[in-house]
Symmetry: C2
Subunit: 577 residues, 2 copies
């Protein structure tokens, strides 16, 4: 009954060594963008200069910088400064901070970003959502009205922890964490925050004095209905040092660390997403890990110099981009302009009316509300819509943190369901071709009776191995219930592993078990096209020896032909006997 | 430049409705074994009887039961009773409970299992690891020596919560939770527990009196080195009611619920795994969710009748199987024998020497220590080895719970890494065939210069979409750095989506983004063989309209041929101009 096969064969070469696969996996996990790939073969001196350029991008772009670029950056820098002043004041008010802190935050951080940042278009500044989030987190512990100094110091401390967290993640190349904030979560979070901030601005627009510090819709609407101008003083002078104010009192440590980490994560996700979007428009690339380090330095040094959390806000970056900025220099120009403002003009802004500030914030926020995106989500993917609404409604009606956690939790649940219940399908041959495809998708694809070809599209491992076994057995039951006569029972089961990118010990045991069950029922078991990662493991676990090299095929077509041959031989044997 | 293609085409039919896909996904998630599939087309009366049979298996097997089967079950039942008595007493001592509780636990629960259980071979009883785990959890809160009654009552309460938890999971069809305890975790946990229990038994073997209640290696060895016989009284009579002892005092609620849930999960995983292993040997099937409900009822009713946590222990089940049991009746026989023992013979077992009990436990435990399995894990899969060792060393040197959490955490981390960093590969054509395979795995497979075919083997979604974009761009960079002359730049990128079982909104955005980046570089983008779930989403998101139906191919071979044609046309155009 041995089938002789010609043509290309499965590669049964010895498995790759552990060191090799481990190194390659580690590299894929932490350096997916292969940052040093470009200068691997350079001379040592050049290599170390390139490495320095990689870590401190100013060394890369400044030597090529010229006056014609500077003209554009000067214009862009002045333009974003004119936006940075009212925005800085407004957002500082959102965070319940003295307005001058908002201006300070547009002086030191942009300088740092100009040195360490890798995006040409990102304009650094404070953002509305994170201002609100940090105020809510710290406000839970310390009442800003009763103890404004402590509140301010804790905000600096939280910013410090944000910086440490972001720098740490960047150095550890853990950009992967940001990947777990999905598009739908961000959409929902932004919409929910925009609604809340707009409602809060009713305070300024309507000239209300007594207001709620709560951030959910119900509380804010209540406060608007039940109630009917102060502008903080702006002192001349650049950022005073705030290093001595950092408060590491164990009583406040949990709340500052938590606030720092949560806002840091959100700020980072927002900043990196924005930097990426603009880079893509110009067909450039952004290294998320490098951006994290730059954001981290910004926030650490910012917390030493009376700044609070900064990242890359959408509105400022869009204005920077549209003003034609050519490099990180525009951030430096903004910093210089802001320094001049702080030294000479700050007191003027004392007279900015609250109504104007509120109007600025509201117009920015209304731009963030995006019904169409949510409707699009509903049409294309109901689960994504739920993830988005969990963030949006959670932020609106509960707290910002609850909304985020709910939404990320749902997204993770979905990720785990993908891995625990991978799609499997029955393959059939498309007429007039050698292609085997899903019979549900291609209804005219037909199988050979007696041969059941199944495709598994997922790593096979502990989280789904029980499911894969049950599902395989059910496919066999279904196939047998379809056929009416006894002669049509399944005699060969072929598992197409093309889509199985990995396998673990539990997965290997499961394949062995499936084979054992099938053998007990006189069904032959074959596997088709195992990928390199799977083949390595199967060889190490001696599974290939157990099921036999003759039962490992390179393509479904080849496997079906081989099985059909053995079916016919068996029939002839039957007929002969 | 339009390419006319003949032969089979991609199915661009309208996407399946939401209701249909949702129903099918829900079914796959909760009913992967399709339990009602067998009698979907029966008459109503027959259908409801079949459903009753499904939920209460005794109605299925008892009508077919006969005396010849009973002979085997009687023998098996008597045999396992002789094992149940010393084991019950020993394990009750492990849990710091009066020995009689161990005997009670082999009376009521087996009767319940005989009615609701679906495994023919599982023998019900207490297990060593869970006895120790529950003692450790409750012992943290209440000292058994100072307050033995409260301790006992809390154990009953924890057992009650185990029952509620297991029944709930079973009814909600959440067998999926058990899937997250991997083979490696269980191996490590069992080995670690066996070591700890053996060490603890030194107490009995060496006749020590003062001992430690801690369960880690260091404490136990210290206690053995620093120290150098009591047997509890066994009263005649069957289980007294313990319903009134259930303690729902809010002070103890967190600890009893936690103990109940953690031991319930471990007991369930162990019991179901064992039932499955033996069913497989006989080529039968076990429904995990049904087993959970049976275990849950066992523990709820057990907690009302002075029993503590029971499940399907390995040793007892193995003996039951080898004694030739034919049905769940052997559990019923054991219950009757145990009733007779409780009514008439209990006081005799007062004189069982501690040394004998310790020896029984140790011999069972030494059988569980499995070096070969751990060595095998090390050889085949280093990450699985780490998961196993985390459980083994965690249980041995820290606490049982810490060990479990560490190990499950590592396993989940791996699961998330699988989804966050899916394997991608470059495809090449195997000589003398139409097959495209990984060029790393099949080094003689070659591509067509100018056409880059990539395979993605994973759902494309938020957790990996950034990675997939970066990786795709890196493949293009690598490909371009390989070719020396300018003419060899990549002109076509083909993404083989055969292995992508699903896509979400973030994934769709990523594909759009990749296309946008490639278009900006004058590279054409095509996708190959999207599966039905992906095709539905792509159609709903209008991605197919955007990239054009001509850029969606059914097979890599077809796609490459089409691209090659356009490459040649372009060259001819160049030559002509």
């Amino acid at each position: 009954m041995a089938v002789t096969r010609s043509g290309p064969r499965v590669n049964f070469a010895a498995p790759r060594g552990f060191a090799k696969t481990f190194k390659s996996k580690l590299k894929e996990t932490l350096f997916p963008d292969d940052p040093f790939g470009g200068f691997r073969n350079e001379k040592p001196a050049r290599k170390s200069f390139k490495t320095l350029q990689y870590f401190v991008p100013v060394f890369e772009w400044f030597p090529k910088y010229n006056f014609s670029k500077f003209k554009f950056d000067l214009l862009a820098g002045i333009t974003i400064t004119s936006l940075a002043i009212p925005q800085g004041i407004s957002y500082a008010k959102l965070a319940n901070l003295p307005p001058i802190i908002g201006l300070y935050s547009s002086f030191i951080p942009p300088i740092i970003y100009a040195v360490f940042g890798s995006s040409k278009h990102l304009a650094v500044g404070t953002v509305a959502a994170c201002s609100l989030l940090i105020a809510e987190s710290i406000g839970e512990k310390v009442n800003v009205k009763e103890n404004p100094d402590l509140y301010l110091h804790l905000i600096f401390t939280a910013t410090f922890f944000t910086g440490i967290f972001q720098t740490g993640l960047g150095f550890l190349r853990l950009g992967i964490l940001v990947d777990f904030l999905s598009h739908s979560t961000i959409t929902g979070f932004m919409n929910g925050t925009a609604v809340i901030i707009c409602l809060q601005q009713m305070k300024g627009m309507l000239g209300l004095k007594h207001f709620t510090s709560k951030t959910d819709v119900v509380h804010v609407l209540k406060a608007i209905l039940h109630n009917r101008k102060e502008v903080g003083e702006l002192k001349r002078g650049i950022n005073p040092l705030s290093l001595k104010y950092l408060n590491f009192d164990p009583e406040y440590l949990p709340v500052t660390i938590k606030a720092g980490v949560v806002t840091g994560l959100v700020a980072m996700a927002e900043g990196i997403a924005i930097a990426r979007s603009f880079a893509i428009m110009k067909n450039e690339q952004i290294d998320g890990n490098k951006e994290m380090v730059a954001f981290g330095f910004m926030n650490i040094l910012g917390s030493f110099t009376s700044c609070y959390l900064t990242t890359g806000p959408f509105s400022k970056t869009a204005v920077n981009f549209n003003s034609g900025c050519k490099s990180q220099m525009s951030n430096f120009v903004m910093a210089i302009c802001m320094m001049l403002v702080l030294l000479f003009l700050a007191p003027i802004f004392k007279y900015t009316p609250l109504v104007v500030l509120s109007a600025i914030i509201m117009s920015a926020m209304i731009g963030l509300i995006n019904y169409n995106e949510i409707i699009h989500l509903f049409k294309v993917d109901k689960f994504d819509f739920c993830i988005c609404m969990a963030a949006c409604l959670g932020v609106s009606f509960l707290t910002m943190e609850t909304g985020l956690i709910l939404s990320v939790g749902l997204a993770m649940l979905r990720a785990l369901l993908y891995v625990a219940r991978p799609a499997t399908c029955k393959l059939g041959k498309i007429p007039n071709s050698e292609l085997y495809r899903d019979t549900e998708q291609y209804p005219d694809a037909t199988g050979v009776s007696g041969i059941l070809a199944l495709q598994i599209g997922s790593p096979i491992y502990f989280a789904n191995s029980n499911y894969i076994r049950e599902r395989t057995l059910r496919w066999i039951r279904d196939e047998e219930s379809l056929s009416d006569s006894k002669s049509n029972t399944v005699e060969h089961v072929l598992l197409d592993l093309s889509g199985a990118t990995a396998i673990d010990m539990t997965g290997i045991e499961t394949l062995m078990e499936i084979r054992r069950i099938l053998t007990a029922r006189d069904i032959k078991f074959g596997i088709v096209n195992p990928r390199i990662e799977v083949m390595d493991k199967l060889a190490l676990a001696h599974l290939v020896d157990i099921i036999g090299k003759d039962s490992v095929y390179l393509s479904i077509d080849e496997a079906v032909e081989a099985c059909r041959f053995s079916l016919e031989t068996a029939k002839q044997d039957d007929a002969a006997s």
